[in-house]
């Protein structure tokens, strides 16, 4: 604050602070509070609002745990679901799948991005790095919907991928790619890759190369140098990349809409259905808060497990 005052003077500082406060309060917190309040009220015809039926209740939340059905569970990478020997509420099935595949997305994205980030930060000739980054960023200039849609076309049953594979004789008949969670996971990884890559790149880049060499010099293999020196140093970057990708994936609506099938629904689709198809904002809000709270708790839990502090991520 002092720093801001010194740098920009009183007028500008107060404008900054006021704008930030406005954004936080009016555009973020108030609508959320409104939805939170709505989520505890019933979806009623206009005439009943404010009447005796309009009470605070947990009914909207409870509805997520209703309608038990046979659970077709999709194991990661499977092309067919397995039938679990017990029933579960239909929305809970979707909820669990969403959390599971957001996690799978995050883990795969991390595995893909760490080596690339390391290569860009420490191996590649620094002169070529800007060019490589442009190559990575250009696809991101295209909007998320187009990128997801492109994959929707490519992976379609009668799409170019199947056509090419069949014509080359690699497969005999077209494969139904968009089924289960493989295509969604793939799409999410593709769309959110950079949110993982950039923080990890930044973190690794800030590591003094001499430390890597010191480890090598003391006899460490590349593996151990990564494990003991580079990864601990880049943990905040890795953590913020993971949090971002996980949250974005769990909250994504476009990618699942395009790349998931009827058998592999995403929880955001359920929220959307409630809000826009049934016009039931109350239930929709309740589901949205369930997702938000669960994801937040999950992320905090994971941060505990991997001993990452919130202040590390904000760095």
């Amino acid at each position: 604050m002092k720093e801001l005052l010194r740098r920009y003077g009183h007028t500008l500082t107060w404008i900054f602070v006021a704008l930030t406060a406005f954004w936080l309060l009016v555009l973020v917190i108030l609508p959320q509070l409104y939805l939170l309040e709505e989520s505890f009220r019933l979806y009623l015809p206009l005439a009943d609002i404010g009447g005796p039926k309009d009470v605070y209740t947990l009914a909207n939340y409870r509805s997520a745990f209703e309608q038990p059905t046979e659970w077709k569970f999709w194991l990661p990478f499977a092309w067919k679901p397995i039938i679990l020997p017990f029933e579960a509420p239909i929305r809970m099935q979707v909820f669990v799948h969403t959390l599971l595949y957001s996690t799978v997305t995050t883990v795969i994205t991390l595995i893909l991005c760490y080596p690339v980030a390391f290569y860009l930060a420490k191996v590649a000739n620094p002169r070529n790095v800007p060019l490589l980054f442009v190559g990575l960023l250009v696809p991101m200039w295209v909007s998320e919907i187009l990128r997801a849609f492109a994959w929707f076309i490519i992976l379609a049953f009668k799409g170019p991928l199947n056509m090419a594979l069949v014509n080359m004789g690699i497969i005999e008949s077209p494969i139904r790619w968009i089924t289960g969670f493989n295509s969604v996971t793939f799409g999410l990884i593709y769309v959110y890759l950079l949110f993982m890559l950039l923080p990890i790149y930044n973190a690794i880049q800030s590591l003094d190369t001499n430390q890597m060499e010191a480890a090598k010099d003391l006899g460490a293999s590349s593996w151990r140098t990564h494990w003991r020196v580079i990864i601990p140093h880049s943990k905040p970057g890795i953590a913020s990349g993971c949090v971002m990708v996980f949250m974005l994936a769990a909250g994504s609506i476009l990618v699942p809409t395009l790349l998931a099938s009827t058998q592999s629904r995403w929880f955001t689709e359920i929220i959307q259905q409630a809000m826009f198809e049934s016009q039931d904002w109350n239930t929709g809000s309740a589901y949205a808060f369930m997702l938000l709270v669960t994801c937040t708790v999950f992320v905090i839990g994971m941060m505990r497990v991997f001993r990452v502090k919130l202040s590390d991520i904000a760095r």
């Binding site: 480890a215 003991r228 020196v229």
Partner: protein, 367 residues
Amino acid sequence: MSAGVDLQNVSCDFGSFRAVDKANVSIKPGEFFSFLGPSGCGKTTILRMVSGFIDPSEGQIKIGGQDMNGIRPNKRPTALIFQNLALFPLMPVWENISFGLEVRGASREARRAKAEELLKLVDLHDSADKAISQLSGGQKQRVAIARALAVEPSVMLLDEPLSALDLKLRQHMRAELRAIQKRTKVTFIYITHDQGEALAMSDRVAVMSQGKVQQISTPQDIYNAPVNGFVASFVGENNIFKGKVKSIDGGKCSFETDAGTFTATLGPSVDANTIARIYVRPEYSRLQAAPAEGGNSIPVTVTDISFEGNFIHVHAADKTGRHVTVETRNDGSVTLPAIGSAQYLCFDAASARVLADQGMKDPGIDE
């Protein structure tokens, strides 16, 4: 356990730039050997080639007689102390020190014990569990030394390890490093741009300039018998006169300058009738009221006297304005001349060396 290091015709090119040019250096087991030279002359590059982080463009490096070609840094019997130390900030002191043992699969107890032992060796008790950020500059220095010693290297490589310390601590650590080297009997290869450090600590010194090794000798010889103008002017101060060798008589020569003709000791690779320079150390120069009989005398005017404590520097200028310095000990044995007085700068032939300009970055200095 220590090993010798041999550099045979070692060069290193970065693109078209030659950072090290045909270095031939033979370092004996257990020796404290320094590379001395100005910043950018290729010292670090030599060290990085010995430790294996850079491959020589040509030539061979042998450690303990074994060719190091193709052997990665983690398999070499060397330990490098980095210019910025490169301690691991996320590990406590003892894990830093025992990192090399962890790599070799030692048990936690063994590592801890070794770390404690080394902490005692470098005179840093009770710091095993401290974080690196809690240490002072000198303590970090000791941890870096301990970390390198932990892997029991045959050769320790030190890249200007004292440059970040303040003067007092630097002088203290000089003695300490030397003592550790004597105790462990490990070969030390030490890099510095500080001539005082190199002369005070080393068994032998290699003076480098622009990628070339200029002279390899004991500190005494480097200072007293430099082989060329670069070594003479990089190590210590000189009064310098440019001129021409007129005649040679054994180890002496007659040297003609615009300030007069002098008799001086002939340095290596200077021939008759070549242009060269005569170098006289300030402490071998004297000022007297009358010219020395049959000796080397130049009329000068005293311009300034600076008192350095144990030494007194008398500055003077000859008739062309050339600046000369005479150093006397502050022991009351010499009466100082008055500023502005006319004096003669005198020196003996034995303490004046005629040297070629070879190795100089800018042969035009002091024209």
